[in-house]
């Protein structure tokens, strides 16, 4: 039985006890998947599982579990998605007992942005792509009557290159085989490249990038860890951290709030950057903070439901904080 069939079977069995199960279905074209809300058995047939299933569905959880209509939720999760659930559980943001997780192992998801860039580079229009096949290490795209083939590593999400959690953790169900843990890179290549720049060039880069931010808050809305929802301090008057002025500096300040609020919490799902309509490389911020947390507190978020997040605790003698003799 394929992973998908197993998954469907598990959902079919569990569905009577659940109000809704969220998975993915084929989207508006061959290139995209969209979230699927399974409320009755007939919906199960529409479920798909492929590298197109990029969305971290945990982002719906905090909203859903608060709704009076929904009591029990089922969720299909990849490794990265499951870390979000672990982290939310740790922070007591969701009633974990009301959530049923259907885990899968994942060998990487498609980065639409990278694929589209490659297709455009090949002289095609993005709109002309009409089929996609995942064939081991290769991705084949039907475009303009021909087929373009790419190495999967060149068009997958960057997070998949460094992924240490390919298999969903702490789930009630698990479908298919476990995928071996084999990160291809130690550090994200984009971060490695960026860190080679001197400070002034980095600043100039962000000046340029932040100018483009339209403050649509897509990055925030899609973030599974952004639990404040209506009470985000980036859009409130009290407290009033960011002015409504459309300026580069205020855009940057908003990004800083998002980063600092994710310190010790970010599970690197990359949804923020994926959702960004102007493709701001904000994962550079996230990853830097994740590395800082790992180096300083030896802490990996979303890995252990029992752990205490690093900023909610302390040690009188910190192991790795060098106070620089001031």
């Amino acid at each position: 039985m394929s992973t998908l069939e197993q998954l469907k079977e598990q959902i079919r069995k569990a569905l009577p006890d659940l109000d809704v199960v969220i998975g993915w279905e084929q989207g508006y074209d061959a290139m995209h998947a969209t979230p699927l809300f399974i409320r009755e058995e007939a919906d199960i047939d529409r479920l798909i599982w492929s590298p197109l299933c990029v969305h971290s569905l945990g982002t719906y959880l905090t909203g859903l579990t608060k709704s009076s209509k929904v009591q029990k939720v089922g969720l299909v999760v990849k490794g990265c998605d499951s870390r979000a659930i672990v982290q939310l559980t740790q922070e007591r943001m969701i009633p974990r007992e009301n959530v049923t997780l259907f885990g899968v192992g994942c060998s990487g998801c498609l980065s639409h942005a990278r694929l589209e860039y490659k297709v455009e580079q090949g002289g095609h229009y993005v709109e002309d792509m009409h089929a996609i096949t995942f064939n081991g290490d290769k991705v084949e795209v039907a475009v303009d009557g021909g087929v373009e083939s790419f190495d999967f590593d060149t068009v997958c999400l960057e997070k998949c290159l460094t992924c240490r959690f390919p298999n969903a953790i702490a789930t009630e169900h698990f479908a298919g085989e476990e995928v071996p843990v084999a990160p291809k890179r130690e550090k994200a290549p984009s971060l490695e490249a960026f860190e080679k720049l001197p400070l002034d060039e980095r600043f100039a880069f962000w000046q340029d990038q932040m100018r483009r931010c339209v403050r649509c808050y897509a990055c925030r809305n899609t973030c599974p860890m952004c639990v404040c929802r209506d009470h985000c301090i980036s859009t409130s008057r009290n407290p009033h951290w960011v002015s409504q002025e459309a300026s580069t500096a205020e855009n940057f300040m908003f990004q800083m709030i998002h980063t600092m609020h994710l310190a010790g919490r970010c599970i690197e799902c990359g949804e923020c950057q994926r959702a960004c309509p102007v493709d701001l490389p904000i994962m550079l911020f996230r990853r830097t903070m994740v590395h800082a947390v790992k180096d300083t507190f030896n802490y990996v978020s979303g890995a252990d439901p029992e752990a205490t997040p690093p900023l909610l605790t302390f040690k009188a003698e910190e192991d790795n904080i060098n106070e620089r003799g001031w």
Binding site: D295, P310, A316
Partner: protein, 175 residues
């Protein structure tokens, strides 16, 4: 002492914001004042009850809004008036310090330290050292300009449309 501070007071002041806890460091700064320990004048102190009250975002806010340097000081570890505030502060501030370089903001522009209410001389030393450092770094670069659709961007769109290409924003396909 004046030999050390003289150079600075002759030049232009830079914008240095200090966040000090009320019980130790603010008192230490008072002690330095009572002892007439001369210091550079650039620093402006904001009093907070405890270093644990200092949100790293205050520091970010100051740096984004044009501060050339931010100095945070609290009670020495183990001496917090509220027992634990400086321990939390240390974790938060350390992460900020490590994060800053990715933004292109020189992490040297932010420092956190511990000064007790009795350490007037130490406070003088910290202020002088930090102010000297900020003067060595010079004024901080500022994020400038409006947001994505300011004139520059509009011009680019206009050009893009002329050439029949898609919106230039979407041209840049970052990873």
């Amino acid at each position: 002492m004046s030999a050390r501070t003289g150079v600075l007071t002759e030049g232009r002041e830079l914008r240095i914001v200090g966040f000090l806890c009320n019980w130790c460091s603010y008192g230490g700064a008072d002690t330095a004042g009572v002892a007439r320990f001369e210091q550079p004048t650039d620093l402006r102190i904001i009093r907070v009850p405890c270093s644990g009250r200092i949100d790293p975002l205050f520091i970010m806010r100051a740096l984004v809004s044009g501060a050339d340097g931010v100095l945070v000081s609290g009670c020495h570890p183990r001496d917090c008036h509220y027992a634990e505030g400086n321990y939390y502060a240390r974790r938060r501030l350390e992460l900020l310090k490590q994060f800053l370089p990715i933004t292109g903001i020189d992490p040297q522009r932010f420092e956190y330290t511990w000064v007790s209410a009795s350490e007037g001389a130490r406070w003088q030393d910290v202020v002088t050292k930090f102010t000297n450092r900020i003067h060595d770094l010079g004024p901080a670069p500022r994020m400038q300009g409006g947001s994505g659709y300011d004139e520059l961007c509009l011009k680019q769109i206009e050009e893009g449309v002329k050439q029949g290409a898609a919106c230039p924003c979407h041209k840049e396909r970052a990873l």
